[in-house]
Amino acid sequence: MAKKAIISGIYNTRVGVLEGSTCMSIHTESGIGAVTDAGLSLGDIDGVLTAYATTLPHIMLGSVFCEDIGIRPKHLSSISMGGATGTMLIQEAAALVEAGYCNHVLCVAGDNRITGHGADAVSVISSMVGHPEFENPHGITVPASYALVAQRYMHEYGLTNEHFAAAAVTCRKHALLHPDAHMKKPITIEAVLNSKMIAEPLHILDCCLISDGGGAVIVSAAETADDLRKKPVTILGSGQGHTHEHIMMAPKSLDNFGCKFSAEAAFQKAGVTPSDIDVAEIYDCFTSTLLIQLESMGFFERGESGVAALNGDLEIGGSLPTNTHGGLLSFGSSGAAGGMWHAIEAVRQLRGEAQYRQVKDVELAFAHNQGGIFSAHCSLVLGKG
């Protein structure tokens, strides 16, 4: 019989401009932080999974990290799936534990995208995503790719700029309650609507941040729980969905992406439905991404997530508290770590460690990451004990 996988340790660095940081210093702080949180030592770690880093584009980032920190795990891989990588590391770690390969897998990601790339950060990342022959010659950007989807979705289902702005305001309110968040000042719907236009209909305050920072999660075999310091969080279900890489190659309606499949798989495995979820931490590289995914994954009917955002339903205390740490929009965004922070917040909510952000009576949490242009998706359903 397969073993059961739990999340035993979590850690995030401070997020924002981290002067003097490097990709590896962020990885190291994150890894040691998560091991300490779990009540383990680095010597207990028998599996390591890392992401990729744009500031350290090495073909074997996992080996670089393990050498740097001084561990020799039994199992080591690096996964490079853009924004989807964070939850994918956790899903893969759970598979390793369930199959009996490892007892304690350290998943770690981090980048110093501000101090590492400087003013070139946006161009560096944009140039990696567009199709070299059929998109880049037309001046495509990452925001423009998402804007193409947002524009069509608004036309089809009636979401508005004000709805998108309400999502940004919600995330900012939550970030102000998190001591490690990048953003420290409140914003209003008017401020979002009046902010600089990047790619219509997306303003700069509809776009995620670029941050320095990292995070780590330890996935352990449930049978080790007695040796661990914190209450376990169980990985009840997980799933992936993949439909394309470039937005011109996505399923043509642009409203049915891999998140639908990844969420369905995760819910089915956990034996729950979207209405059972107490808190949702969902990849929000743009405000529109968050709302479109909420609808595609079944949390709201088509066209209703925007009204929900305006009504405060996504706030702490609302019917579906969402991105309670502030998300990529306001907590921070630093490569694969950005998505991992969604999963880390889900764990904090389940443990009851979210302090001022704590949602009452959390039994089930949902974490979702997405990479590319709605291209690659990985969802997790997490539960207490």
Binding site: E133, N136, I140
Partner: protein, 140 residues
């Protein structure tokens, strides 16, 4: 500040063996798309096999160049300095009447006049410094 000496270049097109025919045709102002005779399906972007039957007996057909705007965005911040002089410019997904989709900029109209479903036709941009003409669209 003007800097005409070091003006950056837009991304150059480097055709692959399976896209060379497309770009050669573009230089003759013809828009090609792949078509699998076995599946009777159009395919774009070009691939090395048909994405339905996975066989490589895939050929080319010529499009009328007539289509409509499926969605668009007016870009105010380009990917890098080479597009700065063009802003704001329009990026769109265009559905051609032969049932394939291309990415294009919409030329020869005011950005505020563009709408989803707008009929367009393909034109070919003769871009300075580019070895290949680039399929774009304008209002039909």
């Amino acid at each position: 500040m003007t800097n005409t000496i070091q003006k950056p270049h837009k991304p150059a097109i480097h055709p692959k063996p399976h896209t060379q025919a497309y770009w050669d045709a573009a230089n003759e102002e013809r828009l090609l798309y792949q078509f699998c005779e076995h599946c009777q399906l159009p395919q774009f972007v070009p691939g090395t096999v048909c994405r339905s039957c996975y066989k490589d007996n895939i050929g080319w057909r010529e499009s009328t160049g007539k289509g409509e705007v499926f969605t668009f965005s007016i870009i105010h911040r380009g990917p890098n300095a080479s597009f700065k002089d063009d802003t704001p410019y329009t990026l769109a997904l265009i559905d051609l009447e032969e049932d394939f989709r291309i990415t294009a900029n919409i030329f020869n109209c005011l950005p505020e006049s563009i709408y989803i479903g707008m009929p367009v036709k393909v034109i070919f941009e003769d871009r300075e410094g580019s070895d290949y003409k680039i399929p774009q669209v304008e209002p039909a």
